[in-house]
C-alpha cells in the first residue's frame, strides 16, 4: 500500500522549529539541570531567538510552499516573523530582572514566550484556515497563562480570566465562521478560496456571514472598537513585561492574518468590506484616543493608545494595494519598537508590586534620571507621531497611502486623531520635565538586559525615523510575493 506524501519542505518552517527546539531545551534545563543553571535560561532563550533571526534572514527572498500548500514561507510571512522575533527578543531582555523583582522567575515564562511566538509565526505563514486557527490557539493559550503569571496578584488573576473568556469567545466566532466558509467553498485553503472567488461574481450569503464571523473573531483578538472592552483591564492587570509582549506580537499576528484574508483571499474589492473596515477604523482610532486622555495610570493609557494604533494600521489596510499593505507592515514594525520601549521604561522605573504607575509617580523624573526621561520622551514623541522619530514616518506612510487610494476623509480623521493623541503623550513628557511637585521617591531597577533592550528600541525608533527607506523597501518587497 502506498501512501502519497505531499511535499513537506521542512525548511519553510525552520524558524518555528528552532524556537520549539529552544523551548524544549529550556524545559529540560529547568527539569534536570542543577539549580544554578536556571539563571542561564534567558540566555538560552536569547540565543534561540537570535538563531530564529538567522533562519528568517536565510529564507528571505524565496517563496517556498510546504505541507501541500498549507504553509508558505514568503517575504510577507518572513517580515512578520521578524517583527514577532523582535518583540520576543526585547521582551526576553526586559523580563529577566523584572521577573526576579516580582518573585515570579520561572523557566516556564520563557517557554511560553517562545511557543506563543511560534503560534504567531504559524498564523503569519499559514495559507489554510485550519492551521491559522491552530496557530492562533497556540499563541492565545500561552498568553492566557502569561497574563496570569503573577499568581498571587489578584489583578493578574483577573486579567488572565478576562483575557481567557474573551479569547475563547472570539475563537468560537472564528470557528463558526470558518465552518460556514468551508461549507460555502468546500475547502479551507485560502489559495483555493481565492481561485474560487476570482471566478465567481460575488459571495453567497452564507459565505458573507462566514467571513463576517471570522472578521469578528479577529477584531476581538486585535481589539478593534467595539470589541475592545477587555484591553484596558487585561493590559493593566497582566505583568508589565507580558503587557509589552501582548501589545506587540499578537497584534501584528492578527494583522498578518487580516491582511492575508482581506487582501489575498477576499480581494474581490467588494465595497461592503471596505466600508465596514472604514467605519471600524474611524471608531477605533477615535474611541482609543479620546478615552486615553482621561487615564491617570500609564499602563492603562498605553492600553487605550494601543487600541488607537490598531486603528491607524487599519487605515492602511483599508487603503489596501501595495502602498497600504507595506505601510501597515512598516507601521507594525515601528509600533513594536516604540511601544515595547515605552513599557521597558515602566519596568525599569517600577517598584515591586507595580503600584507606582500613575502620572504623578513620574513627576520630576528628568532631574534624577535624565537619560531615562530622555528615552521615555523619545518613545512618547514617536507614539505621538512627531518627527524625526519612526512614529512620524510610519503615520506619514499610512496616511499618504490612504490619500493615494482616495480615502481622503479617512486620512483627515486619522491626522485629527493623532493630534488628539499628542495631548496625552506630551503630558507624560511635561510631567517628567516641568512638574512643580516632584514625586517623593523614584524606584530604579538596575538591569543590564533591560538597558540593552532600551538601547535597541531607542536606536530603532531613531533609525527608522531618520533613514526609513531601507526598511520600507523591505516591506515593499514583502508584499509582491502574493500581490502580483
Amino acid at each position: 500500500m502506498s501512501i502519497p506524501i505531499p511535499s513537506i519542505n521542512i525548511g519553510a518552517i525552520l524558524p518555528e522549529i528552532i524556537l520549539i527546539a529552544t523551548a524544549f531545551v529550556i524545559i529540560f534545563v529547568e527539569l534536570f539541570a542543577p539549580k544554578r543553571w536556571r539563571l542561564g535560561i534567558p540566555i538560552i532563550c536569547f540565543a534561540g531567538l537570535l538563531a530564529g533571526f538567522y533562519a528568517v534572514g536565510s529564507l528571505w527572498g524565496e517563496t517556498i510552499f510546504a505541507f501541500g500548500e498549507s504553509v508558505t514561507s514568503d517575504n510577507f510571512a518572513l517580515f512578520f516573523k521578524f517583527i514577532f522575533l523582535l518583540g520576543a527578543l526585547l521582551v526576553t531582555l526586559i523580563s529577566v530582572d523584572y521577573l526576579k523583582r516580582e518573585g515570579i522567575y520561572h523557566a516556564e515564562y520563557f517557554f511560553l514566550i517562545l511557543l506563543s511566538t511560534v503560534g504567531m509565526m504559524i498564523m503569519a505563514s499559514s495559507l489554510d484556515l485550519i492551521s491559522i486557527f491552530l496557530g492562533l490557539e497556540v499563541m492565545s493559550i500561552a498568553l492566557y497563562v502569561l497574563a496570569g503569571f503573577n499568581r498571587t496578584d489578584p489583578r493578574s488573576n483577573e486579567a488572565s480570566l478576562k483575557y481567557f473568556l474573551i479569547g475563547a469567545f472570539a475563537s468560537g466566532f472564528l470557528l463558526y465562521g470558518i465552518a460556514l466558509l468551508y461549507g460555502n467553498f468546500h475547502t479551507t485553503n485560502l489559495g483555493e478560496i481565492f481561485a474560487l472567488l476570482s471566478g465567481q461574481e460575488s459571495l453567497s450569503i452564507i459565505g458573507l456571514i462566514g467571513i463576517v464571523l471570522v472578521l469578528i473573531g479577529f477584531f476581538f483578538k486585535v481589539a478593534f472598537v467595539p470589541f475592545h472592552m477587555w484591553v484596558p483591564d487585561v493590559y493593566q492587570g497582566a505583568p508589565t513585561s507580558v503587557t509589552a509582549f501582548m501589545s506587540a506580537g499578537p497584534k501584528a499576528a492578527g494583522f498578518a492574518v487580516l491582511l492575508r484574508i482581506v487582501i489575498y483571499a477576499f480581494n474581490t474589492s467588494s465595497p461592503e468590506f471596505t466600508n465596514l473596515l472604514w467605519i471600524v477604523a474611524v471608531v477605533t482610532m477615535s474611541v482609543g484616543n479620546i478615552v486615553a486622555i482621561a487615564q491617570n495610570n500609564l499602563k492603562r493609557m498605553l492600553a487605550y493608545s494601543s487600541i488607537a494604533h490598531a486603528g491607524y494600521v487599519l487605515v492602511a489596510v483599508v487603503a489596501g494595494g501595495p502602498v497600504g499593505t507595506s505601510a501597515a507592515m512598516f507601521y507594525l514594525l515601528v509600533y513594536t519598537l516604540m511601544n515595547v520601549g515605552a513599557f521597558s521604561i515602566l519596568i525599569v522605573f517600577g517598584k515591586r508590586g507595580e503600584d507606582n504607575l500613575n502620572f504623578s509617580d513620574y513627576a520630576g523624573l528628568a532631574s534624577k534620571y535624565p537619560l531615562g526621561a530622555l528615552a521615555m520622551t523619545l518613545f512618547m514623541l514617536s507614539l505621538a507621531g512627531i518627527p524625526p522619530t519612526a512614529g512620524f514616518v510610519g503615520k506619514f506612510y499610512v496616511f499618504s497611502a490612504a490619500v493615494s487610494q482616495g480615502y481622503v476623509t479617512l486620512a483627515v480623521i486619522g491626522v485629527l486623531n493623532s493630534l488628539i493623541s499628542v495631548y496625552y503623550y506630551i503630558r507624560v513628557v511635561v510631567v517628567m520635565y516641568m512638574s512643580a511637585k516632584p514625586a517623593e521617591k523614584f524606584y530604579f531597577t538596575y538591569s543590564v538586559p533591560a538597558i540593552i533592550a532600551l538601547i535597541i528600541a531607542a536606536w530603532g525608533t531613531l533609525q527608522l525615523g531618520i533613514l526609513p527607506e531601507r526598511w520600507l523597501s523591505l516591506a515593499k518587497d514583502s508584499i509582491f510575493s502574493f500581490l502580483l
Binding site: 501512501i3 502519497p4 506524501i5 505531499p6 513537506i8 518552517i13 520549539i20 524545559i27 510546504a66 505541507f67 501541500g68 498549507s70 504553509v71 520561572h106 516556564e108 517557554f111 511560553l112 511557543l115 506563543s116 511560534v118 503560534g119 504559524i122 489554510d128 485550519i130 492551521s131 491552530l134 496557530g135 490557539e137 497556540v138 493559550i141 500561552a142 492566557y144 497563562v145 496570569g148 503569571f149 499568581r151 488572565s160 461549507g183 468546500h186 453567497s204 450569503i205 452564507i206 456571514i209
Partner: protein, 161 residues
C-alpha cells in the same frame, strides 16, 4: 426512522443546552452539558461520522465535562448556593443574538446545497488517520504544541508553592 431519531436528539440537545444556560445550580448545568454532548455524539452517528462520535464522547464527555465537574466541586460547596446568576442586560443581548440567529437561519434556508460531484463513501477512521499523517501532518503537529502549551500552562498556574 432516521427522521424520528434526529428529532428526538434535536429536542434533547436544545433542551439540555437551554438548561445549561438558564439553570441556577452550576452542578446541574454541568450534568446537562454531559447530556447535550452525548446527544451531539448521537447526531454524529446519524451522520455516519462514527469516528467523530467516538472522539466526541471521549474528549467532551470523558474529559472536558468531567474537568468542569471537578472545577465546580473545587470552587463550590455542593449544597448548592444559588446566587443571582444573570447579567444586567439580558434583554439587549437576547435581541441582538436572536436577530443574528434569524438571519443565519434565513440564509441557510435560502441556500440550495449542490450535491458533491464525487460519489465516494463516507470517510472512515482509516482515511481520517491517513489524512492526519499525510496532508494534515502540520496541523497535527501544531495541535500537539497546543496540548504541550496547555499542559505546561495549567501546571504553572495551578501548582501551589
Amino acid at each position: 426512522m432516521f427522521d424520528l431519531a434526529f428529532y428526538i436528539l434535536a429536542v434533547l440537545i436544545l433542551g439540555s443546552a437551554l438548561m445549561v444556560v438558564t439553570l441556577r445550580n452550576i452542578f446541574h448545568c454541568a450534568l446537562f452539558l454531559v447530556l447535550c454532548m452525548f446527544s451531539i455524539a448521537g447526531i454524529y452517528i446519524l451522520l455516519e461520522a462514527e469516528f467523530i462520535a467516538a472522539v466526541q464522547v471521549l474528549i467532551y464527555v470523558g474529559a472536558v465535562t468531567i474537568l468542569m465537574i471537578f472545577a465546580v466541586m473545587l470552587t463550590h460547596q455542593l449544597t448548592g448556593k444559588t446566587i443571582r446568576q444573570v447579567n444586567d442586560q439580558p434583554i439587549a443581548a437576547l435581541f441582538i443574538i436572536s436577530s443574528l440567529l434569524v438571519l443565519t437561519l434565513l440564509a441557510l434556508s435560502k441556500t440550495t446545497w449542490e450535491v458533491a460531484s464525487s460519489s465516494g463513501v463516507s470517510p472512515s477512521a482509516t482515511e481520517l488517520g491517513r489524512a492526519l499523517m499525510t496532508v494534515y501532518v502540520l496541523p497535527f503537529e501544531v495541535v500537539s504544541v497546543v496540548l504541550l502549551v496547555a499542559l505546561v500552562g495549567a501546571i504553572v498556574i495551578s501548582r501551589g508553592d
